[in-house]
Symmetry: D2
Subunit: 153 residues, 4 copies
């Protein structure tokens, strides 16, 4: 089955994604940048850094998950209406290999958009000395919320 093409609802969807990402201080902690933002698909990239590691010097699984969760979240958010905020309901991550490498690319893709609930998939790739390797996959459920105090964007 071909991948569906998604149509954003908010005229300023691209700006909304960038502005919200800038407000995610956790992304700065990861040294993460938005590498690509398309309707329903967002890619985040980051360099290996000592502050993100587990006991063996690899990227901590939770840090891989943090970047994947944001990639999925913004993939979903890119399709939501202008008055909606996005919250993650749940995600699951499979760590296929230790996150060893000098740079990482996390891509989130909407596989089922919805008025209330949106489902995304994520892929994390490690660049390790010229080779690229799939190190993690995620499935993620998002909720569009409107009108909650303190939750915007």
């Amino acid at each position: 089955m071909p991948t569906p093409t998604f149509q954003p609802q908010a005229a300023d969807w691209l700006q909304r994604v960038h502005e919200s990402f800038e407000r995610q201080a956790a992304m700065r902690t990861l040294g993460a940048q938005l590498a690509s933002v398309q309707p329903g698909e967002v890619t985040i990239e980051l360099d290996w850094a000592p502050a993100l590691t587990q006991q063996h010097g690899f990227l901590h699984a939770g840090m891989v998950a943090t970047a994947l969760d944001s990639a999925c979240g913004y993939a979903g958010f890119s399709l939501m209406p202008a008055d909606a905020a996005v919250l993650t309901i749940e995600f699951k991550i499979n760590l296929l290999a230790p996150a060893r490498g000098e740079r990482f690319r996390m891509t989130g893709t909407v596989i089922k958009p919805g008025r209330t609930v949106t489902v995304c998939e994520g892929r994390a790739i490690a660049f390790d000395g010229g080779r690229e390797k799939l190190v993690a996959t995620m499935s993620c459920t998002l909720m569009a919320v409107t009108g909650r105090e303190g939750v915007q964007g």
Copy 2:
């Protein structure tokens, strides 16, 4: 059914957990401390900090997951033999409420230890102005690995 009591295999299990936790630079990035280490159950605590937040100022779901993953990982590691390292195979997290609060407590508990595969559950509690609230639950599968280059503890 009563909760089983677990018996560590490594004589220095407590020291091994503390030493490995100290090597997890990601835990320092989170400002996380080991609050309790028992055979098969580990609790990590951390304060809210701007560097850990998402766009609404709550703790980023991925940061909640990072602390829960470490709590689960060390809960499992506490029961593993002295020559084993621990890797996370997968985890799933349900975010029950926004992680709003000034301090957070993540507890990981082994529900099924195994020679190769160990399964844990995690709970994240937020302390928010005198109230405590369950904000996330995790299920987590760990693998004990031995003899892999570069993977110790």
Copy 3:
């Protein structure tokens, strides 16, 4: 933290659970009965049967999941308003041991009720020659839906 006590919204919540369960033909295929229905917690029991087995003669993981999903679904449904139907958004199951035994008990418990989204946990216990064993755990996200054609109860 103590387990919360839940208050059903629909006056006929108990009848609604029983009637909906009766309409789940899959439960008859499993030979499953409602063993206990309380607000926010439902237990289903079933006997081992050849028709439910995998290649080693144990209960198929999917059949364990089917009973756990219904237990979780009805735990959530018991708390929903009278005009709501329940759909499963996602679930994850950890198989802790082969589902070997002559009888099985699956319990679903609400851990976070919500207007739209409800989160439950499930436990499957096998009774095997006088011993009982935890064989699977589930986390499950449900959605309350109203006004959809063809979806009632």
Copy 4:
């Protein structure tokens, strides 16, 4: 990244998959057939049947999961050595839409084979009056086990 091509280890891998599938009585209960068996990818098909339904007449989420779990399990099993049996450690399923339709196709694909642990993904498609729709996705972790009494194939 291109999909990897997998090389079976057991000379009789195809026969092993078919024979083990035949021993899964649960597959007969579902009316499920092996539609395609390739190294690392297995497709199962089944017709809608009253015995598999939930309260709205759709395929029960657990029955969708049962077929997906077997598709994933045999995808992994096709790559395992001749003395190995396969057990599911865990799976997670996202139900993207009610499983409405007259026929269903579940495909499991290995995304990371391993000596001990194999990770697969599954897709369930419903055929509903000439249209096909993705109704569920799964991620699944399998373990290859050898030498356990009562667990063969």
